[in-house]
């Protein structure tokens, strides 16, 4: 038997926002009876494109119900562009973590959101392929190839078991395992070989003063992080450095978008660990407008 967190159980037994939103601005739907799970997500946006209400209908396992409930809670009050950045991992985190076998339920929630977003923005998605059974790698759960490829890329999957956890593909009769193995190999071969970047800033030695370290960190932020954020109308400020702890805060467009700060934290941490000190831990001190969605501090 799978073990679910208390939060998953709670969202499963008392799901929030179940039902149809008659005056929805946009609807995103994914899944089918044949795949064993389906989600229909209703969003109501105000003039400022902020999600005022979100509801859902779901067919699926306890975690599919909990993930849908969690997603609607995460969406409310967010601008649609911020909302679109919510990942499957964010949903899982919100629920205190899902068993790996059930990650596909968070992926489904994220996909419903993607469909709603694309529809709202008039972007065409690759979904027409989904309807064609000939294109399905996994016939049991009707999973098309592009979905498997994407799951491998987005989540760095390395085994057939992980593919099943994220997409359900291969979880039925197992006859597609040969194909999954080939896709896995192909995707990993496609991936450009990781170029070892020569650190521009030499690593700061263990005996470096806090001031030296701070300068090195500021240098990395200025070159690697802030230009990217500026493009989205945001900024990051270095607040303090204490030992290996690097305190930062987000400004502008970024500070209300709690979900993306998790991604941001890991990105920044990664860069700083490579270029300054492998022990660095980044701590986000931004006061988020919505505390409920603040990422867990470590």
């Amino acid at each position: 038997m799978l073990t679910y967190s208390d939060k998953v159980k709670e969202h499963f037994i008392n799901p929030r926002n179940v039902g149809v939103l008659a005056d929805a601005t946009v609807v995103g739907e994914v899944g089918s009876m044949a795949t064993g799970q389906a989600l229909k997500l209703y969003l109501k946006l105000d003039e400022g494109e902020v999600i005022r209400d979100a509801k859902f209908q779901v067919f699926g396992s306890p975690s599919a119900i909990a993930a849908s409930s969690a997603l609607t809670e995460m969406l409310k009050g967010k601008n649609i562009d911020e909302a679109a950045r919510i990942t499957a991992d964010n949903i899982s985190e919100f629920l205190g973590g899902l068993p790996p076998e059930k990650m596909h339920t968070c992926v489904m929630s994220m996909e419903a959101l993607e469909v709603a977003y694309a529809r709202h923005r008039g972007i065409e998605l690759e979904t027409e392929l989904d309807e064609d059974a000939e294109m399905h790698i996994c016939r049991c759960y009707s999973v098309p190839e592009h979905k498997i490829e994407r799951a491998i890329r987005d989540n760095g999957l390395t085994s057939i078991e992980e593919i099943t956890h994220f997409t359900k593909a291969g979880g039925g009769c197992t006859s597609c395992h040969v194909d999954l193995k080939m896709i896995l190999e192909r995707v990993h071969a496609d991936k450009p070989a990781e170029v070892k970047k020569t650190p521009v800033t030499p690593r700061v030695g263990a005996d470096a003063s806090t001031l030296e370290k701070m300068k090195a960190i500021q240098d990395v932020l200025d070159r690697e992080v802030r230009p990217g954020l500026a493009m989205d109308g945001g900024d990051m400020e270095l607040v303090d450095v204490q030992g290996n702890k690097v305190y930062v805060s987000l400004h502008g467009h970024c500070n209300s978008c709690a979900s993306s700060t998790t991604t941001m934290k890991f990105f920044v941490e990664d860069r700083l660990r490579e270029m300054v000190d492998p022990e660095i831990v980044v701590i986000d001190t931004t006061e988020h407008s919505d505390e409920l969605h603040a990422p867990p501090m470590r």
Binding site: M1, L2, T3, K9, F12, I13, P15, V18, E29, G31, S32, M33, A34, T35, G36, Q37, A38, L39, K40, Q57, V58, F59, G60, S61, P62, A64, I65, P99, E101, E131, C140, Y141, S142, T164, G171, G172, C173
Partner: protein
């Protein structure tokens, strides 16, 4: 939410019969000797074990010398398969079915890697094997035919006697996993029976966990799985699980006395449950044959909902059932039994197994029906497929079409 928990998962394990518990209590006190010891302490326990052996032999209608006590069905199935193959060194073919319990299927699939040729017989939509397929596949090279008497998920009963006769015609050994049959069907292993090995487990018929028995016909080849002592006539080394064995003996004695009433009682409750569910819920199908079926088992597929969701909500409402899906290594895999029966995945999703026991009461059945219906309704209201008008015109029309056409023929 019901006041006291209702247990409808009796193919997984059963309530220990008060008579079985009572029989064991002295073993927690003065009767504690090692049954292999020749002093009076040991002989008192030996006596209890031999009484149990007689009761189990009576349950199987065999000689008491043909009963080997062990730790349960997994050990019994493993032992029988290895013993049979060891006794037939010149034959390299094994026949089984795709719907066996893992303790048969995984052993046999492992043996495939060791060079045996394996045939897994198909089952039809009703869960039946085809005896003609058995006749076509069996040959002088077949060492062993291993079949379950009744399936744990659907309750569907195999034609054991007819299959055994075919095995005998080709000189193959015949093993039967009778874990679900014991206490629910008449078992008769007199010399006319073609069965060479038969497995049972005490906790499936109101004994305790950790004790089972393997029937080994007098003339059948045998090879102990565990060595290191003369216990069980050298057939199973290790100090006997006296408490488990005594409880199993007492549980067998009860069945020997009252089996027709037990069967009648279980069947009445199962039928009440089935009728109740069919009238309280729309869009339910019964998986597996309804005639050749254990008296206590009901496998029901609820359309448009997920079985695990149903199961967990029922657990929250204090009712224990199990999903058609087995939880192997923590992962929710679709039931290999329903897959082998070619039940479409769309119908496997909402399949749940209800199993009553002779202790199940009408009030419990009625409460379970009421709760199940309420939860099914709630989950369907939550589902994008659950509303008639949405089913008719909306979402994933193509998938729904496929789904409907299946249920129209089911």
């Amino acid at each position: 939410m019901t006041d006291r928990p209702i247990y409808l998962d009796n193919n997984s394990t059963t309530f220990p019969a008060p008579e079985a518990v009572e029989a064991v209590l002295p073993l927690f006190g003065d009767i504690y000797g090692n049954p292999s010891s020749s002093h009076s302490f040991g002989q008192k326990v030996r006596h209890q074990i031999e009484l149990a052996r007689e009761n189990v032999a009576k349950l199987l209608n065999c000689k008491s010398g043909e009963v080997v006590f062990n730790s349960g069905a997994t050990e019994g199935n493993n032992t029988a398969i290895y013993a049979a193959l060891d006794g037939m060194p010149d034959r390299k073919h094994i026949i089984t079915t795709g719907v066996e319990h893992a303790s048969v299927l995984e052993v046999i699939r492992y043996l495939e890697e060791a060079g045996y040729r394996i045939t897994e017989l198909n089952v039809d939509r009703m869960g039946h094997i085809d005896l003609d397929e058995l006749k076509n596949e069996i040959s002088g090279d077949t060492a062993l035919v291993s079949l379950m008497w009744a399936n744990n998920e659907t309750g569907v009963i195999n034609p054991i006697n007819a299959a055994g006769d075919i095995a005998k015609q080709f000189g193959a050994l015949f093993h039967v996993d009778a874990v679900q049959a014991a206490g629910k069907l008449k078992i008769d292993l007199t010399d006319e029976s073609a069965v060479d090995y038969l497995t049972i487990s005490g906790h499936k018929f109101h004994g305790l966990k950790g004790a089972g028995a393997l029937f080994v016909r007098e003339k059948a080849p045998y090879l102990p799985l565990l060595r290191g002592g003369h216990h069980e006539d050298g057939r199973r080394a290790g100090t006997e699980n006296a408490m488990g064995i005594v409880a199993m003996g007492a549980a067998a004695a009860l069945i020997n006395r009252e089996m027709p009433e037990h069967i009648e009682q279980m069947k009445k409750m199962r039928d009440r449950l089935q009728a109740g569910l069919l009238s309280a819920c729309d869009d339910v199908i019964i998986n597996g044959d309804q005639q050749d079926r254990l008296p206590n088992t009901l496998n029901a597929g609820f359309k448009y909902i997920d079985g695990e969701a149903l199961l967990m909500m029922m657990d929250a409402a204090n009712i224990a059932v199990s999903a058609g899906s087995a939880c192997k290594s923590g992962s929710m895999e679709p039931s290999h039994v329903l897959m082998a029966m070619n039940v479409p995945l769309s119908a496997i999703h909402g399949s749940v197994r209800f199993c009553v026991s002779r202790y199940t009461e009408p009030e419990e059945v009625d409460a379970a029906v009421e709760q199940t219906a309420a939860i099914v309704k709630r989950l369907r209201e939550m589902s994008p497929f659950g509303h008639a008008e949405q089913r008719e015109n909306g979402l994933s029309a193509e998938a729904l079409e496929k789904h409907k056409s299946y249920f129209a023929t089911a």
